[in-house]
């Protein structure tokens, strides 16, 4: 089967992906320490590192949002039901039989329908949940000044922040595994490193 390469991920996109990946992994590590799951850096240090990472990630997102809208790349995340059943069938049956991947990435449609759904979920659900709760967590001391101290409790803010973190962790595990399901086990990862994806 002949294979060829297409250019899927542009330079900024790759930079965004990897720096965000590192920040998220680091925030999971420090965040669960703040949560009390283990001791690694020490509570105070973990809070500081988690906070610095959060601000860095905010900066990164400002650029990423700008990039997505100016380049029109945001359309990559519009959900579709087309081929979604085929995708599920591929992951649950076809992949074990060496069946061909039902989705062919192109520069204009680089995510398969399940990816679209998953990433949209991360961008519109898990992300904002973490951001919003994290923001209130960080500015706990200002609740009174903002007039929200009667509506919010730190306990519930922390609950949803932690819930978001568990979702992000679950996404991370699945995401890392699914990168091996390309044309070859490493073709997706190579694409995210070089921009060029090998397709059949």
């Amino acid at each position: 089967m002949a294979s060829h390469k297409i250019y899927v991920f542009k330079r900024f996109e790759r930079f965004w992906h990897w720096s965000q990946a590192m920040l998220i992994i680091f925030m999971l590590i420090t965040g669960f320490e703040v949560h009390g799951s283990y001791a690694l850096f020490g509570f105070g240090k973990a809070v500081d590192l988690h906070t610095i990472s959060a601000w860095t990630l905010i900066g990164l997102w400002v650029f990423a949002i700008f990039w997505h809208f100016t380049t029109g790349e945001w359309k990559q995340y519009i959900p579709t039901t087309e081929k979604i059943v085929a995708m599920i069938r591929f992951y649950s049956v076809g992949i074990f039989k060496g069946a061909p991947h039902p989705f062919r990435p192109t520069t204009l449609k680089k995510h398969n329908p399940l990816q679209r759904l998953a990433y949209l979920g991360v961008l519109l659900l898990i992300g904002p949940l973490l951001w919003l709760t994290g923001w209130f967590y960080l500015f706990y001391g200002d609740w009174q000044a903002w007039g929200v101290d009667n509506f919010l409790s730190l306990e519930w803010v922390a609950f949803f922040h932690t819930a978001g973190a568990f979702m992000m962790l679950t996404f991370l595990i699945a995401h890392v595994y699914l990168t091996t399901t390309g044309h070859t086990p490493t073709s997706h990862i190579k694409a995210m490193l070089t921009g060029w994806e090998e397709v059949d």
Binding site: E33, V34, H35, G36, S37, A39, G42, F43, G44, V47, T51, Y91, I95, F96, K97, G98, Y140, G141, Q144, S153, L154, E155, A158, F159, T162, A163, A165, F166, M167, L169, T170, I173, A174, Y177, L178, T180
Partner: protein, 547 residues
């Protein structure tokens, strides 16, 4: 074995602060002498900045026979001074709760140290800023009975001994009795001519020695604060800021600010501008404001909504070898030695551990405080109040809750006692302890006689039946402020078994969390991991088969 000297030593540690002044001029006589390091020299005060040299006043250039004679001389110029003092707790030993009207103060409450000065005035009033309070007939309006010198002496030679009802030593006498040590009379003229502002030694002469031994009572105040280093107290550090007590406890019209009875538990806002009249100048916030940390530590500033400064900045109290008393068991008093005679014993650090007169004590140093929500309102058990002997009696019920915006989490010293009560009337008893008469507990070792005499002096009914009940007294800790680098670190509270593990009503990251969420969250992540591993495993197996 019991030596005559030991008995006489213990005699010295009579109720409130017998060691008092003696600790300064004659350290070896202190009940806890091994721990105290009092200095015989006057404190290292700088030359007075006063515009008046009292040694040049003709009113003071004469022989004074008694304390009241000195006061009369003082009042010639300081016409309002005695009237001012007579309005303060230092004179009345009484504090009225502005909210409830309850009369508290030493005169009215029964604590679980020496219990009550009533019927023991001759001894206890060694720490009264006055002369002659020997029983309930004391006239609180006589101005010449105000003691100016105990607070204003700069020579450290002015001593008031138990038994004299607040008078200084007028005649050379052996003290403690049969000790072979003698106390010389104070040179009242010299003392009067060299008076000055109160130093740490003046305040400390009573406040360091409460309950009859150095450091016993407060835990955050003892003789080590006469010459403290930075580690012990960042503000009083003798080589640094060298604060006097009155630097924080700013005083106006002889009214000393800062009181445990009417405590400022949650002072808010920025630091106070000089000249701004404020009710709580002794609070940390009056100088530091309620956002005291720099911008890069702003997370700490958010803590001031819930936590008193003292909670982090006084990580331990009694931070020295002197230590403090954690419990006093009066029920062991009157226990005699094997030879049938009274005896005393000390703990391994040389602190009083047992005395047939007073019972058993437990001491400790570098004590980790117990933490409580405090709003500064305490309700005390006063003489005659009913108690419930079936549970531990709270000498003071400290107010405060997590929902109260005026409450903060405070470090406290909880002193645990066992003391006599009337089993029929259910009241804590007043007992006559000090004195040389037949009914004094420390003379006759007879509880019944001591309680009868004490209750009579207090005008309380006594059924004739007594037993001992457990009590607790809770005091905020606020002195011995450590340097910043010794403050608590985050994880000392933000952990599962940290300092604040028993504090309710506040969500603390790392300490708290939702167990169900944690279980569900980790289960979800783990199942996902197992799922992808199985998926991947099958892929490897099937691809090999094909291969």
């Amino acid at each position: 074995m019991l030596s005559g000297k030991k008995v006489s030593l213990s005699a010295l540690a009579g109720c409130a602060m017998l060691t008092v002044m003696s600790a300064f001029a004659a350290p070896a006589q202190s009940d806890s002498a091994s721990a105290a390091t009092p200095q015989t020299v006057a404190d290292t005060r700088q030359k007075s900045a006063s515009t008046a040299d009292h040694s040049k006043f003709k009113e003071l250039d004469k022989h004074f026979r008694t304390g009241p004679e000195v006061t009369e001389a003082c009042l010639i110029c300081h016409t309002e001074a005695a009237k001012q003092v007579q309005h303060t707790k230092h004179w009345t030993w009484e504090s009225i709760d502005p909210k409830t009207g309850q009369k508290r103060g030493k005169k009215n409450i029964i604590n679980n140290y020496c219990t009550s000065p009533v019927s023991n005035e001759k001894d206890c009033m060694a720490c009264h800023a006055g002369y002659g309070w020997k029983d309930s007939s004391f006239d609180f309006t006589i101005e010449k009975n105000v003691d100016c010198l105990v607070c204003h002496d700069t020579t450290a030679t002015y001593r008031k001994l138990p038994g004299d009802a607040g008078h200084p030593v007028y005649e050379r006498r052996e003290f403690p009795p049969k000790s072979g040590k003698f106390v010389d009379p104070a040179d009242l003229k010299k003392i009067a001519q060299s008076i000055g502002k109160p130093s740490r030694s003046n305040c400390g002469s009573c406040h360091f020695f409460g309950a009859g031994a150095n450091g016993a009572k407060h835990g955050d105040m003892d003789s080590s604060l006469q010459h403290p280093n930075k580690y012990l107290d960042v503000h009083m550090d003798e080589k640094g800021l060298n604060f006097a007590c009155t630097t924080c406890h700013a005083t106006s019209s002889h009214e000393v600010s800062g009181s445990r009875y009417n405590m400022a538990a949650a002072t808010k806002g920025p630091a106070h501008i000089r000249g701004n009249p404020d009710s709580s100048p002794a609070a940390c916030q009056s100088c530091h404001g309620d956002k005291p940390h720099p911008q890069h530590m702003s997370k700490l500033n958010q803590h001031t909504e819930k936590i008193a400064c003292q909670t982090c900045h006084i990580p331990e109290y009694a931070r020295n070898d002197i230590g403090t008393e954690l419990s006093w068991d009066w029920s062991k008093a009157t226990t005699m030695g094997e030879d049938g005679k009274p005896f005393v014993s000390k703990d391994s650090a040389g602190r009083r551990a047992f005395d047939s007169k007073k019972g058993a004590w437990v001491w400790d140093s570098y004590v980790i405080p117990e933490y409580r929500w405090l709003n500064g309102v305490s309700t005390y058990k006063v003489i005659g109040d009913k108690i419930d002997p079936s549970k531990t009696v709270q000498i003071n019920e400290v107010g405060g809750s997590p929902d109260d915006p005026d409450s903060r989490i405070w470090p406290t010293k909880v002193h645990r006692g066992k003391q006599p009560y009337d089993t029929v009337n259910n009241t804590l008893t007043v007992q006559h302890t000090g004195g040389e008469d037949d009914t004094a507990l420390w003379h006759n070792y007879d509880w019944q006689k001591a309680i009868v005499a004490g209750m009579k002096a207090a005008n309380l009914p006594y059924s004739g039946k007594y037993d001992f009940v457990s009590t607790e007294l809770t005091w905020p800790i606020t002195h011995m402020v450590a340097p910043g680098e010794d403050a608590l670190s985050c994880a000392q509270c933000h952990s599962k078994n940290g300092r604040l593990k028993d504090i309710q009503g506040v969500y603390m990251p790392s300490r708290d969390g939702n167990r169900l969420l944690d279980m569900a969250g980790w289960a979800l992540a783990l199942l996902t991991l197992i799922g992808v591993l199985i998926h991947g495993g099958i892929r490897i197996l099937t691809s090999k088969k094909e291969g």
